[in-house]
């Protein structure tokens, strides 16, 4: 059994064990710790195992079906390993922070989401990439519907909305993937193996217009899963309603699946898809919708859960900007930002869950002065806040600045094209995120404490998972080159020069 298969199966087996009666907390935290250790080990070995960091490593394959050719193949390049690291880090802190009075299903669901996400990130077969993601969605929907916050009818409505949106997105995605696979089969045996498909794309490329069309279908499918504007309206209510570990895992990890799919499947298999002008322009408009429209929407929110949920939708726009520009540095920046956003939003949702449990309200106007009672909690929240507004030294900035530099270009031109104008407008979003996050921070933590609202600092053992996330933000923020060294494979992605 290959090591990547172990990484994928471990959380699923742990979930099974808990269902069969193993102690929930010990099992889930233990499994998450082991997984973290394995992934860290893989990161250190990656360069020697993958020809200097450019190719796949740790590959193995089991044939499931001969025709169509479906193999349970696993393998990792830098992108998948970074996302695996994100998954295990967020999983560990998500299961660690589950309160002791919660039923075991919290742990089971979290582990299943983690297992599904790891499977999606580490598989090399399009069929399994898709199937693992679906697997991870099921516990997400169930947990929102069963254990979500708010009125019974409200959370059911939210669960339905999320299911419908993501289900519809998945179906569009399925259609797009099927189209893609069919086009490349050329009447021969169907294959879902990414490597084989990539070889096909290189030897017999599709006509450019068709590439653009399929790319757009995939963009809509993957985009719905990532809350690309205007397919985003499931996201903010889902995160506001979902139980804390599910909100952490979905917004932090699972939502990255759509972006991963574009980088891993759509871009290499349809290398000229984004060069079709209308596709690129459509993407630019949509991502500006994420940044500017959702920026304004977030500014008008009056409770913390809505601010964080909408801000998470907004930040997807920057990652799409990296993808839309297609330059090497911007794509690598997009991966860094995927990691950074995942960690920072998971940290913020974990802290928000604690506030909801202790204070009973997240209305900004009712909160205030928490910094006086809970200084350590405040520092941790400040890490998340400043990371998400792109303060240098924290991970998100590293990704954002690479995206801006890459998207603006460095080819000696002194004219401003559509990409450059998009970057300029997107930069205004950085001002807007400072506005809503600092407003929220001001009303929650500063000023005088409201009588009757009291919150204490987490005890030491509860601080550890949160400090882990904060430390990850700081390390990647100060030393982004630690991760960039793993991303050589992205330089072979054809540049979509416009």
């Amino acid at each position: 059994m290959s090591v990547l298969e172990i990484v994928i199966l471990l959380p699923i087996l742990a979930a099974l064990a808990i269902w069969l009666g193993a102690p929930a907390r010990a099992t889930s935290v233990g499994a998450a710790l082991i997984n973290l250790a394995i992934v860290l080990g893989l990161l250190f070995q990656f360069k020697s195992a993958s020809a200097g960091g450019a190719g796949y490593a740790f590959e193995s394959a089991r044939v499931v079906l001969e025709n169509p050719a479906i193999t349970f193949g696993v393998g990792a390049d830098g992108v998948s390993l970074i996302l695996a690291l994100l998954t295990v880090l967020v999983t560990l802190s998500a299961v660690w922070q589950i309160a002791t009075d919660k039923p075991a299903i919290y742990h089971i669901a979290s582990l299943l989401i983690a297992g599904g996400a790891l499977g999606a990130f580490l598989s090399t077969d399009v069929f399994f990439i898709y199937a693992f993601h679906e697997l991870a969605l099921i516990p997400t929907f169930l947990m929102i519907g069963l254990y979500g916050h708010g009125e019974d009818s409200h959370r059911k409505a939210v669960a339905w909305k999320t299911t419908i949106y993501l289900g519809a997105g998945s179906l569009i995605l399925l259609a797009g993937l099927a189209w893609l696979v069919l086009e490349y089969s050329g009447g021969q045996k169907l294959t879902f193996d990414l490597n084989a498909l990539r070889a096909q794309a290189a030897s017999t490329p599709l006509p450019v217009e068709k590439q653009g069309l399929i790319f757009f279908v995939l963009l809509l499918g993957f985009g719905t899963l990532v809350s690309l504007f205007p397919l985003h309206s499931w996201a903010a209510p889902a995160y506001a309603t979902a139980p804390t570990p599910v909100a952490m895992l979905h917004s932090g990890v699972l939502k990255k699946f759509g972006l991963y799919g574009i980088i891993r499947i759509a871009m290499p298999l349809l290398p000229q898809g984004l060069q079709v002008e209308w596709v690129q322009h459509a993407l630019l408009y949509m991502l500006l919708g994420n940044i500017l429209v959702m920026g304004f929407v977030t500014i008008s929110q009056r409770s913390l859960d809505k601010v964080l949920g909408n801000s998470s939708v907004m930040h997807m726009g920057y990652i799409f900007l990296g993808i839309a520009s297609g330059t090497e540095i911007a794509l690598q920046g997009a991966v860094i930002l995927m990691f950074a956003h995942g960690i920072s939003i998971a940290l913020l949702f974990a802290l928000m869950g604690r506030m909801r449990a202790q204070l009973g309200t997240l209305e900004l106007s009712k909160l205030g002065g928490l910094a006086s009672h809970a200084p350590i909690f405040t520092i941790l929240f400040a890490f998340g806040t400043f990371a998400s507004i792109g303060l240098p030294g924290l991970a998100n900035f590293s990704g954002e600045v690479m995206i801006f530099l890459g998207a603006f270009g460095s080819d000696g031109s002194s004219t401003l094209g559509p990409l450059q104008w998009t970057v300029i407008l997107a930069l205004w979003g950085v001002v807007m995120s400072a506005v809503y996050m600092l407003r929220a921070y001001r009303s929650v933590f500063q000023g005088s404490a409201n009588a009757g609202l009291f919150m204490n600092d987490p005890v030491v053992s509860q601080r550890i998972p949160l400090m882990l996330l904060a430390a990850a933000l700081l390390i990647v923020g100060c030393c982004p080159w630690l991760l960039l060294g793993l991303l050589k494979s992205l330089s072979v992605v054809p540049v979509a020069a416009m």
Binding site: N67, P68, A131, G145, A159, W160, K161, T163, I164, Y165, G167, S170, L174, A178, V181, L182, S185, G187, L190, F192, L231, S233, V293, M294, F296, V297, I299, S300, E328, I329, G369, A371, L391, P392, G393, V401, M402, L405, F408, S410, G412, S414, Q420, V423, L427, V430, V431, A434, V435, L438, R439, R442, F445, Q446, G447, S448, C479, W481, L484, G485
Partner: protein, 633 residues
């Protein structure tokens, strides 16, 4: 990362020591307790010593890399150190005043509950400011530019329980963010046009004879836009009109912070950056002219506002705005001069020279006001002081030296020489005449409001009990004042300007018109101020427009309300109505239909979901295994 040559030890230490201090205090303050404070002061002292040691380092031909940051393909962004006259001198200013402010704070913040947090943030500031000064490329400068913004935010909001302090810190950060928005665009434009190289040395040679030289010659609009975007960064950080509104509110922070960050060093970073990038402004006449205008407007307008403030720190804050305006104007004037090929830029620069003299006397004035506030039990209203000359003689003397420098008493004060250099430049440059006269009138206003402040605070009789019982501040606070007084006195001497590498411009032949005009301005300002306020117990002039700062805050509040909050409200409503309405109604309708069908089938919501998803998975398998192969063949 590719192996670089070994990073030079001293600059690395200079940069990282305060960072480690700040991190140690953040993580270990429970264990360290009072030792954190000592640690912070010790780190500031070591940084000062390192800056002294660096004074005789060679000018770098290349900026040596201290730390890697981002390296992708041919783009390599690093943390490096560009050591030249400008950075060495600035470093010494930052670390010397930094150390003195650390020491002063030992007394000023002694009783404060958040003392450890204060010193931690102070160390974070020292780290960030060092980064700006050492920066050898624009991205690195931007990184630390934002980080000084963070430390300023933390320190303005030190007393975060106070609503006014919390609001002021937020306002400072957000206003700076608007400036940084432009700054980043400017960096990106140069990055694009110069093939991904934004190091200062690379840009400079490119402007001399390279891609940017051609861009400047052929694409005037692009170059002017890039220059103005860069300038926007300085408008935010150095609080120039129209983004000046945050600096007076920043006085909510503890007074030592006002002295170090909001008077001597951080706010001057904007000017520092403009001088670093002077080749950009030399390449665009329109941008250089804009600098002159913005600088002159800020200098004049802030001086008017200073005349009607009653809070001692606010007078000083507006005076800082006004002096920063002079410096920005000087950058513009020199760029016009060099751009017009009047002569090559020498090693001197009037903006940096004024920055240097201003840093010492303004830090001293702020610390002096801190000593006064401390002794009057945190009273900041000048009208509740009075007669402090007798009670606080040392503070009085140092304050007098500072005031004399700020108003530019001829020949003996540092402020005279540096202001004269700017006025002289304005007089010499062809288009500079209006700026010269604005500068002279502002000098007169400066003499007026400083005399006013001096008379109200130190002369006459104490107007309140707290002023009556005021006594000299403790020695730990008086000592830094005295050191700063000495530094202020010696700073115009040549050996001092040599040591501080102050970029003193060659003394132009003092044009008689310049001398006479500034002398008259001084005499008129001081005498009007003295006779108007002598023996007064309340404000004899009441100019609402100036006292209310030209209503900028009120106007901006309306603008924010209309252009941000209302627009946000409308967009949020539309988003709910249109996107959510259309995009979600249809599926929701379908969902309800399917849902009720599922309920009928399974009798319950939960089962409904699982059923649907199970159905989905089955569908997927069916499609993949049966439908697709059938299509494919």
């Amino acid at each position: 990362m590719p192996a670089q040559e070994a990073a030079p030890t001293l600059p690395t230490l200079l940069l990282l020591l305060p960072l480690f201090t700040a991190l140690t205090i953040l993580l270990g303050h429970k264990l360290l307790k009072g030792a954190s404070v000592i640690l912070s002061v010790a780190s500031a002292a070591i940084c000062f010593i390192i800056s002294m040691m660096l004074l005789h380092s060679e000018n770098s031909e290349i900026a040596p890399v201290l730390l890697p940051f981002i390296s992708v393909g041919k783009i390599n962004i690093v943390i490096d150190a560009l050591l030249d006259q400008q950075s060495r001198g600035m470093m010494l200013i930052v670390t010397s005043i930094g150390l003195l402010v650390h020491i002063f704070s030992l007394g000023y913040m002694k009783e404060d509950a958040g003392k450890v947090r204060f010193f931690g943030a102070l160390s974070l500031f020292m780290f960030s400011m060092t980064g700006i000064v050492l920066a050898g490329n624009l991205v690195m400068m931007f990184i630390f530019w934002e980080l000084v913004g963070l430390s300023s935010y933390l320190l303005i909001g030190h007393w975060f329980q106070k609503a006014s302090a919390a609001e002021a810190s937020k306002k400072a950060f957000l206003t700076n963010r608007i400036g940084d928005f432009g700054f980043m665009i400017g960096i990106l434009m140069l990055f694009a046009a110069n093939h991904g190289d934004v190091s200062f040395l690379g840009l400079k040679s490119s402007f001399a004879a390279g891609p940017l030289h051609d861009v400047a010659a052929t694409q005037t609009a692009f170059m002017t836009a890039a220059a103005l975007c860069l300038f926007m960064g300085a408008v935010g950080k150095s609080a120039q009109f129209p983004l000046h509104v945050w600096l007076p509110d920043a006085m909510e922070g503890p007074t030592p912070v006002s002295a170090l960050i909001h008077a001597a060093t951080m706010v001057a970073a904007g000017v520092f950056m403009l001088v670093r990038c002077s080749f950009v402004f030399e390449a665009s006449h329109d941008a250089a002219y804009t600098l002159c205008c913005i600088g002159a407007i800020t200098a004049f307008m802030a001086a008017l506002m200073a005349t009607q403030q009653s809070d001692i720190k606010r007078v000083l804050a507006y005076s800082t705005l006004s002096q920063l305006g002079y410096m920005v104007m000087a950058v513009g004037l020199l760029a016009l001069q060099v751009g017009g090929h009047l002569h090559e830029a020498g090693p001197g620069h009037p903006a940096m020279f004024h920055l240097y003299t201003h840093a010492f006397f303004k830090a001293m004035l702020f610390l002096g006001s801190g000593a006064i506030i401390y002794s009057c039990h945190h009273e900041q209203d000048m009208w509740k002081m009075g007669g402090l000359m007798k009670h606080m003689p040392v503070t009085f003397v140092t304050f007098a030296i500072g005031t004399a420098s700020l108003i530019g008493v001829p020949y003996i004060t540092s402020g005279f020489w540096s202001k004269e250099a700017i006025l002289g430049a304005a007089f010499e440059v062809e288009e500079g005449r209006p700026f010269f006269w604005i500068g002279v009138v502002t000098a007169m206003l400066t003499a007026f409001y400083m005399t006013r402040m001096f008379v109200i605070t130190f002369f006459g009789k104490p107007r309140t009990d707290s002023a009556h019982h005021a006594s000299e501040a403790p020695i730990i606070m008086v000592l830094p004042l005295l050191v700063l007084a000495v530094l202020t006195l010696i700073s115009p001497w040549h050996w001092a300007t040599n040591m501080f590498q102050a970029m003193e411009p060659k003394h132009a032949e003092g044009h008689p018109t310049v001398l006479i005009a500034s002398f008259l301005a001084l005499v008129i300002g001081v005498s009007v101020g003295f006779f108007l306020y002598k023996g007064k117990d309340k404000e004899p002039l009441n100019i609402k427009l100036f006292a209310n700062k030209f209503y900028f805050d009120e106007i901006y509040a309306v603008l924010v309300k209309v252009f941000q909050d209302t627009v946000a409200w409308i967009i949020a409503g539309l988003e709910r109505l249109v996107v959510d309405g259309i995009m979600a109604r249809l599926p929701a309708y379908l969902a309800a239909r399917v849902g009720s069908a599922a309920r009928n089938l399974q009798g319950g919501h939960l089962q409904g979901y699982t059923f649907l998803l199970g159905l989905g998975v089955l569908l997927v398998i069916y499609v993949v295994v049966f439908a697709l192969p059938a299509l494919g063949h």
